[in-house]
Symmetry: C2
Subunit: 285 residues, 2 copies
Amino acid sequence: MEVHATPEAFRAACDAARAGGRRVGLVPTMGALHDGHLALVDHARAAGADYRAVTIFVNPLQFGEGEDFGRYPRTLEADLEACRARGVDCVFTPTPDVMYPEGFATSVRVTGVTERLEGAHRPGHFDGVTTVVAKLFHATGPCVAVFGRKDYQQWRVLARMTRDLGLPVEIVGHPIVRERDGLALSSRNRYLDPDARQRALGLVEGLRAAADAWDAGERDVARLEGLARTPVEARFDRIDYVAAADPESLAPLPERAEQMVLLMAAHLGGTRLIDNLELGVDPRP
Amino acid sequence: MEVHATPEAFRAACDAARAGGRRVGLVPTMGALHDGHLALVDHARAAGADYRAVTIFVNPLQFGEGEDFGRYPRTLEADLEACRARGVDCVFTPTPDVMYPEGFATSVRVTGVTERLEGAHRPGHFDGVTTVVAKLFHATGPCVAVFGRKDYQQWRVLARMTRDLGLPVEIVGHPIVRERDGLALSSRNRYLDPDARQRALGLVEGLRAAADAWDAGERDVARLEGLARTPVEARFDRIDYVAAADPESLAPLPERAEQMVLLMAAHLGGTRLIDNLELGVDPRP
């Protein structure tokens, strides 16, 4: 497994793989890798990528003031070991000053699908995401890139960016990987003490309550949102949003809908967790 | 020579050329081709591109309200003939709805170098330029792209974007091509009646006056700007700017400078012309 810290060296490795006839798959991450990330690597292979590249970069641009950029977990040695064990071919580990040298002045912005939910609660977040991912795409030149659907809106935003800019890469969204009790895997779960870890299940309970009602025929958007919200409200310290949206545009829905994604973001002490569930679209947690 | 109207077909042609071991050079244009554009094609060849692609697209995003998008000259048949005669390999002729289909929501923005001069007088112009050129780069995947330095600030903006986003393409700026009397070639020159065509030489007179003073040792920025401005003021109906700037950042200069670019934009009736000259950097008109 090759490990490169500069875009030039990383790009050269990917170019050589392509020149050798291999299909390059990309899994962009912020490190602190867990089984959810590693499932993305497997998925890249399943999507036909016989050369798998992982990027590990805690991107300062996508963190707002007062967010957890400083304390975001950084576990590079363990991450590299996990990549090696999973058959990753190449890892890109740039530093912020390599990605954003002095004079850096360019951003990629998507409107519309970025405006609600995460976009409303984390101003500038998606500009940071789209800018860094455009750069990572250019550094890699991938055929396919795999993103986790826990960051559901991010996945849709990046699909929109890719289509709009005509980037020659296929965007794949991989289903959420969960713990046995249903909690979505997240690098931020390691912030949780045992009590908070238990309370975090409020997200899963909310999504399951809505899914049960959906299965029983409920299609009223406000009632489904209310069912999802109640356990989160009971267990979390503060809710950013519990909301249903159109699965592709993330736009608000009419009173009733046959397809939706329920999305939630809430705080347990200093830790912010997100989760989501598609209804009328996909399997359940 | 191949001609394609969709990014997919155009990209496939460029991919096939690359797969055959050829270096792809790109010359993005808005059509209405003149010898200045065709010099860019020759320059792409000189820069090592043995497959030369030209794009012809009057990009609505880069025209402001009240500008000449509607009446911008469109001479597709003559353009294709000129490309064929010049040995161009492939031409991309998309329509606005192919480039910006319904739901299009992404933009590429460069700050800093975009803010003064053209950026100040044409709000949104450079966002339109950087967005379309990013798309054209993705559609082409060029090794080298050649731009004319008549659009001096545009050239610097695109170099900034390319570096910042890590686009794997070399940006080349080609010197201004001029008529025998010095007027810079421009698709907009065809708007000029014989009287206006004569008055347009005010730009050249201004640049030459400044260049003569420079050669005599003048380094005072305000005096050089004043010398450049006088003939433009005498001959044109309205000046947008006559200003010296740092050649790379386009930032304002201190009182005296050993390197600069003098840039000007002014109106003759409904026609807006631009010109520029590097001092302490390059040859003269």
